[in-house]
Amino acid sequence: MERAVLEMHQITKQFPGVLALDKVDFDLYPGEVHILLGENGAGKSTLMKTLAGAHEPDSGTIVVDGREVRIRNPKQAQALGISIIYQEFTLIPYLTVAQNIFLAREPLRWGMRGLVDRDRLYADSTAILKTLGISVDPRSVVSTLGVAQQQLVEVAKALSLNARILIMDEPTATLSDQEIEQLFGIIHNLKSRGVGVIYISHRLQEVGQIGDRVTVLRDGRSVGTYNVADVDINTLIKLMVGREVMEKADRRSLPNAPEALRVSHLHRNGVLHDVNLVVREGEIVGLAGLVGSGRTELARAIFGIDPFDSGEIVLLGKRLVATNPSLSIRLGLGLLPEDRKSDGLALILPVKDNVTHASLTRLFPSFILDFRKERAIAERYVRDLRIATPNIFRQVGFLSGGNQQKVVLAKWLATQSRVLIFDEPTRGIDVGAKAEVHDFMRQLARQGVAILMISSDLPEIVSMSDRVYVMREGTIVKELEGEDINQETIIGYAMGKGEGQ
């Protein structure tokens, strides 16, 4: 067998109060995709950061190409041929795509130190984007791009290094199926060129789709490395979570429950047209559709972030022809936004404050905080959602990516809104926690809360929804109930099949 391009031995990393990595072994061969699995907070990102020069391990050795190395900063990692796509966004918002791709590695004019050759910067970026089949203008400013396009730019940036070791930390969390196909194509191409890829994901179906080997981390320890061909998904889940995860779909039909939210003839020029939907108290209604079909835009219009041109919303009996977020919250509507990384959290504040932020006026109408009450609420959500944090006083910025998402979720659950819109509630959340979030949503529904759930995860839509609306090109094309709720039917309507019949 070929020599490993990377070997990590007994890597240990201690953070204040958390042993993030405990004597982890890991290796990577040229031309393979090695998948890293584990619950939120298991230590996956931390292990990768020791390779990228973002953290130094406390102990253990890293061997690249047979030579022991110490990686102290990102530059050294790059020099060793290690490139990483971080779980968090690392693009600079107001620089152009090309400037981001080549940040700190700009092509030099006349070979002079410090002088950027802008012509080559854009020419080279155009070439890279073209070979990857990514249609983004290298001159556009990153902050004007959508989340998925930004993710593709991150990919281009990582690949522009010509790395031999490529790390991808949840690259598909924000991509649509089509873009995921595109990414997998790129990965296959890299494999054939002998690049070793380390791939982290919570979408377990991806293990079989592109993985060669898989390593599972649990609580900072490696619990085993397997050939993908030799294990099935259930075994992997058991290794990750340490127990069996059971999800039971049960669908309810509540045609006579009072209406909590009704949207009629909602129209927003060029984005939404003639949208009609109803969510009843106690119902979980799925909103399915392809990325770009207008689901997030609809949620934003209902909540009042974006205006709408005509139409009407009836929220808990109140007729509205225009909305805004503070009014919506006051009337009892909550929205868990899709882009949690930038919209959802105050990273330097503790978990406790983030959980209670959106409900302070509800909890403390006299504006005087009751710390014991605040603590009790925060502790309850940390327990219920199994947020991995040493205590509720830890800064949210220090939590793992998935646990940060759970904090956002807790924040909106704590508002005790009577109508909740969830935009991709379990994206980036591990299988075990996903089941708990689902249970929690069902409990809320049982208590009479009306839930509108946007999700690109079809199994989630199918198992959770009492009813489903399918959106396409800015409008609702189909309402499904009971037996009709299955993946094939939903995909069909989402892609526009069955039209004109």
């Binding site: 990228a52 973002a54 900063n73 990102p74 530059k75 790059q78 971080y86 966004f89 690392t90 693009l91 600079i92 918002p93 107001y94 620089l95 400037q99 940040l103 700190a104 590695r105 700009e106 004019r109 410090g114 002088l115 950027v116 802008r118 400013v141 940036k157």
Partner: protein, 308 residues
């Protein structure tokens, strides 16, 4: 950067409106001599504002510029009074300012202390040293050869203007065509991300405040020459006008976007404002009030625009 370019026309209208307005109300505003005097004054502000913009682009701030200006002017003046040659005196004055900028940068980059705190301290150090060196009084009366720098003409245009143009071109070039320039925008846009991408954040910050020191030195020497006197508090208040010029010129305090083209227009607006209000006979306290309101207004406008 695109955002800044889009915004430039907006403030250019403000500038034109201001000029027309003052011209309408103030007899003698539209005279060559007044025009030249605005240019002489505005050029000094323009040079310092470049330094302020660099700091703000990186999401920092530089309050030490005025103090360092005073220091550079006083050092140069005192040395000339001691019989040093003009060249040597200017060189040492500039070197002092550069050293002050370097020190500021080292503390900010090395110790990771907030620029606001460090430069606030350095403002005091600069003013303090200027007072010590000058013995507390202004240092007046220089040779004609030195006065040329601030009062002379080249091609019928005041020399300070040419100095400001040079400084502008250099800083603009740094921002557009060098790795340092890209790093400054990157650090201001998202410091952690910049660092993870391999940007040497510390070096970038050091260079920002070093260049700030140099620009303050140039401004201080030109100011002393223009006034034919180095005053230990001559630079006082320039740091605030420089911040105002930056913000009015479309670079938000939150950093990461904007640029020095807008800052130059901002510096012109502030200078014409001061000149016009002066000619209207408005006392300094009222001038301060009005300029303060302009700053708040332009920040509010920026906030409203980006919240839309």
């Amino acid at each position: 950067m695109v955002a800044a370019i889009k915004r430039v026309p907006g403030i250019v209208y403000v500038l034109v409106a201001l000029i027309m307005g003052f011209g309408w109300f103030i007899p003698g505003f539209f005279t060559v001599s007044n025009f030249l005097s605005v240019i002489r004054q505005g050029s000094v502000l323009a040079v310092v504002s470049l330094g302020a913009t660099l700091a703000i682009l990186s999401r920092g701030v530089n309050l030490s510029l005025g103090g360092v200006m005073s220091l550079a002017g006083v050092v140069t003046g005192v040395l000339m009074h001691r019989g040093w040659s003009i060249m040597a005196a200017i060189l040492v004055g500039m070197a002092t300012a550069t050293a002050a900028g370097w020190l500021t940068g080292i503390v900010i980059a090395g110790a990771g202390i907030a620029p606001f705190v460090v430069t606030l301290g350095m403002m005091s150090v600069g003013e303090g040293l200027a007072l010590v060196i000058s013995g507390g009084a202004s240092v007046p009366g220089f040779s004609n050869a030195f006065q040329v720098l601030g009062q002379g003409y080249l091609l019928r245009v005041p020399i300070p203007f040419w100095i400001a143009v040079m400084a502008f071109l250099i800083v603009h070039f740094i921002l557009r065509d060098t790795q340092l320039g890209v790093s400054i925008y990157a650090v201001g846009g998202n410091e952690d991300a910049a660092s993870l991408s391999g940007v040497d954040v510390r070096r970038c910050k050091l260079q920002i405040y070093l260049i700030g020191g140099i620009l303050a030195g140039v401004a201080g020497v030109v100011l002393a020459s223009r006034m034919n006197s180095a005053h230990p508090s001559g630079g006082m208040g320039f740091e605030f006008d420089a911040i105002a010029a930056t913000v009015v010129g479309g670079t938000p305090m939150s950093g990461g976007r904007g640029g020095v083209v807008g800052t130059m227009v901002g510096a012109a607006i502030i200078s014409i404002m001061r000149n016009g209000l002066n000619m209207l006979g408005l006392p300094t306290p009222w001038q301060m009030t009005i300029i303060g309101m302009i700053i708040i207004g332009s920040i509010a406008l920026d906030a409203l625009k980006s919240n839309r």
